[in-house]
Amino acid sequence: MIAAHLPALQVVVPLMAAPLCVLLRRPALAWALTLAVSWVVLAIAVLLLLQVLETGPVTYPLGNWAAPWGIEYRVDMVGAFVLVIVAAIGAVVTPFARRSVEHEIPRDRIYLFYAMYLLCLTGLLGIAITGDAFNLFVFLEISSLSSYVLIGLGKERRALTAAYRYLIMGTLGATFYLIGVAMMYMMTGTLNMADLATLMPAVADTRTILVALAFLTVGISLKLALFPLHLWLPNAYTYAPSVVTAFLAATGTKVAVYVLIRIFFTIFGGVEVFRINLIGDVLMGLAILAMVSGSAVAIYQNNVKRMLAYSSVAQIGYMVLGVSFATVTGLTGGIVHLFNHALIKCALFMALGCVFLRIGSVNIGDMAGLGRRMPVTMASFVVSGLSLIGVPLTVGFVSKWYLIQAALEKGWWPIAVLVLFSSLLAVIYIWRVVEVAYFRPAPEGGPAPAEAPLSMLVPMWLLTGASVYFGIDATRTLEVAGGAAAFLLKGTP
């Protein structure tokens, strides 16, 4: 009975919990509720994934209004995979959040933080689960609005301007998306993605649809911070509270990539969008520019959070590159990198959260000697950093392997070279931190910072461990990602 309603519960549970948080007021209670909800959400997501693996796509007509008139929730392989990513990151971040939030957010606003956090989770899950193009816009805005608030909660005043700029860019992006949806609706008279996919081939060559595709692509590219539309991202990640950065870096942009995949391979799946115009080439070019320029700029950053933010720009490049190949191998690489990068970046930002908790700074100069003072935290940073570089036996290696393979299969070896070049740049920026933390002696005087509390170390190491585990045995993630890629490229929803 309940099993049949899992798709609805996936979104409704966190949505209902958010106002409850506001009612509870007490920080400890709000946190406990968030914790419980985030684990329930994860359980639902995993159940849905298992169900999809077993029986194929799951559909759920909301309020029993049949598609294509009513809003339909539709969970297929890609959607379920993204749901699990988002829910898992949410479930791991919440226990981590308690101490970090106490440290970085005024006590009287903590309950608001958790309410916003839950809303953001709702929005991100909703994007991944809905099968309706307009409903997707609503969830996009729920997650965006709450993330503007979350970023604005940062300690420094620059968090406010970062949130404001993100708001302007984000709203422009969402509105662009809305225009695209309007044009598709004009031509097909439907908003249901599955329905759109069947009607699209008939009208695909019209100028309206081409313009719609352009608006959709630009709008989502703003959201996923694809170079050169990434300008909001570095500041937003740098000045947001540590927990928010860890959560958003691992989920926000990933979900945007998911939307991109949805548009290209589900809605426009029947028309093989990459073969009818330049869009694939443009995306590939931008992805490569993002990879190289993001990594190159990251090298010169002294704020480690900002450094990792630029690294995220580069990593988004990897994902979009995988998508732009439009082959099974490439798309598998892109989708599996969604998961892999979520693990890596979340763990890295968590490590910085621990550092910030203890020494109150994430500037590279202040991290001297941390290798000895916070060995557990820094060890996690190093392992995740190696994964970011793409050293074998870590998840980063798996993604890179697939992307290079996809490039070579097409005979585009310069792209493979650039992928590798970008990972070598990652060696440089990760190693800058390692050298400071392990070779530069800690400053004299002042109390030596202790290791971070267990409640933060355990979630961090959970992710770090996962990023090694899924690097050694990548068959499971690749099974899902490969299945999703093959499913999407069949051209039918």
Binding site: P392, L408, L424, Y438
Partner: protein, 512 residues
């Protein structure tokens, strides 16, 4: 115990030892006990695999799939057997050596040192037994990373710079070139398993073969083919046991071992011999041999001279492999073992001299043979082996390589071997001569004093200077014991080279 379990244990034992070393870190005697016990067990395990492989068996075990169609798999074949045997035996010797060295030298962070040392051995075993290129690559990278803390052991500014060069070149080449080559091979051949006769035959042709070979050879930075050799001299800032085992045996040998594996099992000797575009390798290796020897000749710092000698000797293996006949492959495989024994003895001696007298420069060694007869005798044996004079094992391997070169009518290779033998003699024999036949200088040169402090990297440890120069004798007992054993090994393998030769012969398919 089944061979499968033995293989897994060989990789696991050093790892377990690393954990135990960390746990027993507060009690040095117990900690060193763990190291020794692990080394003995490991050697026993590796030795127990000998009979099966000798009889032509290829014990294999698959640990699980990493990527679909690509497993983490181990397979013991003759070359890997030979390499694992040499490495595990020398770990045992080095463990004995490093106990004396590290204590006499008052090194800091000894627990970390032993732990990473053990992990390095584990990954060396992983490389030696790897059943496909992906497994090999994974352990190759682990080895790079876990030796980084060993190279930068002293934590000084100099160590940090050396660490940068070390990691930059090794990680840069392996990710930038080798990984590229591996994925390329995978897309062309659809497999990465090490297969007798190669996996690329009939699937790649023309310039592709040459480019792929270049990506592999230069991607395997650990083989130190010029111009990617700079990490090796840089890594000499590490404590001497590290230089000895890792930079004369494990790390660099993993490099040439991988090159050899790639040539024999990925390309296939016959296939590469037919493909015209692979011919350049011989010349690059030949150039490296001569050029590195010339640099060694001009270096006054003993460890640096040894490092460049290593660069030169490594390219012997590569050049031998590049001659591309079964006999030459056999010579290459045997030279891995021969050079390992020779070079580790020389490094042991350099460390022994450093511990006992705090001397690091060749020009300071006049007359030292009288004070340290055991050390310098071992040094002489090691030097003879490097040059290739009987009765040392170096003669045997050089003999095979020279024979292969002559049979293949590679005049260039023959010329390189002759020239480099002369150069080897020119940079090793004066040391031996000075140590035994020159009178000790009363006052060491001032320049030596400065260099000494930097080399020892003692971080201002005052105890160092308490027992210096005047009246020093031999190094600590364990140090002398270790270098005597390895020197004895050089002689032993000259008289009884059958076992390694048989393995090398199997690799080459029964030639010679």
């Amino acid at each position: 115990m089944s061979a499968e379990a033995t293989i897994l244990l060989a990789v696991a034992v050093p790892l377990v030892a690393a954990v135990l070393i960390v746990l027993t870190g507060s009690r040095p005697n117990l900690r060193e006990g763990v190291t020794l016990a692990a080394a003995v067990i490991l050697f026993g395990l590796v030795a127990s695999l000998f009979p099966a492989v000798f009889a032509g068996g290829r014990p294999a075990v698959v640990l699980g799939e990493m990527l679909p169609g690509l497993a983490i798999a181990f397979e013991v074949e003759p070359l890997g057997m030979l390499f694992a045997g040499v490495a595990s035996f020398l770990w045992l010797v080095t463990s004995i050596y490093s106990i004396g060295y590290m204590r006499a030298h008052h090194e800091k962070n000894q627990t970390r040192f032993y732990a990473y040392f053990a992990i390095a051995l584990s990954s060396t075993m992983g490389v030696a037994f790897a059943g496909n290129m992906l497994t090999l690559f994974a352990f190759y990278e682990v080895l790079t990373l876990c030796t980084f803390p060993l190279v930068t052991h002293h934590g000084t500014e100099e160590a940090k710079r050396a660490g940068r060069v070390y990691l930059g070149i090794l990680l840069g080449t392996s990710i930038g070139l080798q990984l590229f080559a591996i994925v390329w091979t995978w897309t062309i051949a659809g497999t990465l398993d090490f297969t007798a006769g190669g996996i690329l035959a009939g699937k790649a042709a023309g310039p592709t073969v040459g480019i792929l070979l270049a990506l592999y050879v230069f991607g395997i930075g650990k083989a130190a083919v010029m111009p990617l050799h700079r990490w090796l001299p840089a890594a000499m800032v590490a404590p001497t046991p590290v230089s000895a085992l890792l930079h004369a045996v494990a790390v660099v040998k993993v490099g040439v071992f991988t090159v050899l594996k790639v040539i024999v099992y990925i390309f296939g000797i016959d296939f590469l011999a037919q493909a015209a575009s692979g011919g350049w390798l011989l010349y690059v290796a030949g150039f490296t041999i001569v050029a590195a020897s010339v640099v060694a000749l001009r270096s006054d710092n003993l460890k640096r001279r040894l490092a460049y000698s290593t660069v030169s000797q490594l390219s012997y293996v590569i050049m031998a492999a590049a001659i591309l006949t079964p006999l030459s492959a056999m010579g290459a495989a045997f030279h891995i073992a021969a050079h390992a024994f020779g070079k580790i003895t020389l490094f042991f001696c350099a460390g022994s001299i450093l511990v006992a007298s705090h001397k690091t420069l060749v020009s300071e060694l006049d007359g030292i043979g009288r004070r340290m007869p055991w050390t310098m005798a071992a040094f002489a044996i090691g030097a003879l082996s490097m040059i290739g004079i009987p009765p040392t094992v170096g003669f045997v391997s050089k003999w095979y390589i020279l024979r292969a070169a002559m049979e293949a009518e590679q005049t260039f290779a023959v010329a390189v071997i002759v020239l480099s033998t002369l150069l080897n003699a020119a940079y090793f024999l004066p040391i031996v001569y000075a140590a035994f036949f020159r009178a000790e200088t009363a006052e060491p040169v001032a320049a030596g004093g400065r260099a000494r402090g930097a080399e020892a990297g003692d971080g201002g440890n005052p105890r160092h200077h308490g027992h210096r120069r005047e009246g020093h004798g031999e190094a600590p007992l364990t140090v002398v014991l270790a270098l005597t054993v390895s020197a004895a090994g050089i002689l032993f393998l000259f008289f009884f080279p059958d076992l390694p030769l048989a393995l090398a012969r199997q690799l080459a398919g029964g030639a010679g």
